[in-house]
Amino acid sequence: MELIDKIKILADSAKYDVSCSSSGSDRKNKKGGLGNAAPSGICHSWTPDGRCISLLKVLFTNHCIYDCKYCVNRSSNDIPRASFTPEELVNLTINFYRRNYIEGLFLSSAVWVSPDYTMELLLKSVKKLREEVNFNGYIHLKAIPGANSALIEEAGKYVDRMSVNIELPSSESLKLLAPQKTKKSITEPMGLIKSKIIENQEERHRFKNAPYFVPGGQSTQLIIGASRDNDLKILRLSESLYKNYNLKRVYYSAYIPVSDHPSLPSISNPPLLREHRLYQADWLLRYYGFNSNEILDEKNPNFDELLDPKSDWALRNIDKFPVEVNKADYYMLLRVPGIGVKSAQRILQARKVSILDFDDLKKLGVVLKRAKYFITCKGRYFQDRNFVNNPPMIRNHLLLEDKIKINEDAEQLSFFQLYPQIMNPIEKISRITGEL
């Protein structure tokens, strides 16, 4: 088979993996070598669906021994199959890289012959890239569930990020839709990678030249809407993954129907809004100091379709508002709807030298559309005083202002997920969030 046909098949099969991040690693180039990693990550192109291309994202093979119902590569599906050789992959990666098409390689695979057999092929490819052609760009490698831990551990020495996809948010859904996978086969490699990363960080702390082990951390992906798990369940799962497995990212992928199996929901459109809300909530967990119980609970286990999770929280906790912009601490500022990490940091910086009013906030780039209901400047409230402590009224106004937006929702929806890296000359603030 021609290389171009392989690319067609193996990129097509890999594209539902949403992760495109190339951030978090500070791997340097070696003498006479090719490539390095950019800690903030770099996007190299955007496809017509508005998603960024950072890494060459392909499967090693889409031949699969498993028959997971939700998956396009399931063995019972009648699709063209292909496999790369490690040599082809290496050649493709460095030739794309030299032309600045990509930031590196994201290599995943269906399970061919056996988990160990597949993992060995992946390992062989990344080892070749690092050792034979001295490639030091970014590599994200998928760990194959069920593969021997020695193989996974060795692969970790060559790559910047590793991920094990959970896909289905509960054991029941796994049993129903992916009976050949078990919870254990997923959590075991995650635990292994986590402990090796911690070990390596300590080692690198003591010896600057100690070899890397997955310096960009690990991530995972959950499919949204293929099973009946509610938002609360998913969010709690993410929270515990961040806490217990030190994950860098959990990605959410709206289920796109690829099969009409009776165990799967019949949906006409992927649940993009739900995916979007989960990303918003995920950011609240990671950068805004929220915990999952503040965002959702047993009484309200699913997101409000109309309102973003932070505004929703603020309206339920209206007694904490309005906050005085000139006095509130960083974490309280972050809890104001409409104020993000960048705005909060700018406010703190500007407060060092002046007392801010609403016009100043605008110049700082703080968007007042939402924030104005929840803040005061020099004791002054921007809105009609009737809004103070009147959640139904604020809610109505927030929705009213959103209405115009909702019609262009496609744009709004994807924006959060694909939030681009925007740098200022000092490039400090962005480092915190990194490129997605």
């Binding site: 192109s45 669906d49 890296q421």
Partner: protein
Amino acid sequence: MMLYYIYDGTFEGLLTAIYDAYYERENPELIVAMDNFTDNFLIQRRYIDTDEKKATKVHNGIINKISEDALTNIMYAYLSEHENAGKYILEYLRFGFKVGRLVDSYLSDDRVHNIHKLARKVSRERHLLLGIIRFRLLSNNIYYAPIDTQYNTACLLGDHFAARMADQIFVIHDVKRNYGVFYDKSKWFISDIDTKGNLDLHEKELFYQELWKKYFESTTIKDRLNPKLQSHFMPKRYWKYLVEMK
């Protein structure tokens, strides 16, 4: 009469103009590069003689009395080629020499805000370019990337690509401004470009371009098409030299 400072377009020339305005307490309406100057009878012209000593004094003064960030900021603002850049820089520095290190905290002060706005635009374009410039391999084994940018950002790309593509000879060619960033496997430098030479592609070049285009097409999710979002991130003005957008 409106007083215009006219300088040679170099950064040193601009710093010299700053020096003269500062020490002679003049308030030029505009500090403009020679090439962008259009005369009219209301303008009083003052030509600035680029003076390395004066420029160095201003340069060091900024670092010692304000900050290195401030120097980066005015450098980026200068590269924006905005017609008011020179004047904004003068105002920013005057204020900076007064308040010192904290100048960049005055985010809502126009003197600071104007510079930050320009610097951010340049910085954004630079970051975008890090991703979207495309090298083509020529028959003489040089990797060649033509670019057509809004701001004068090419000179900000040298460090990044020299560190990354350390083992390949490359040229980044600013087609509009007719200069290039050259790298010869040991160091990078800037030089004018004579565009008359013929650019023969390497025999393998089109093969890889085809593979890349196929990848681009294949990795698109057709159920989620959103071309507006695509051009939001990657404005159409940059598509000209993008292999995958042809």
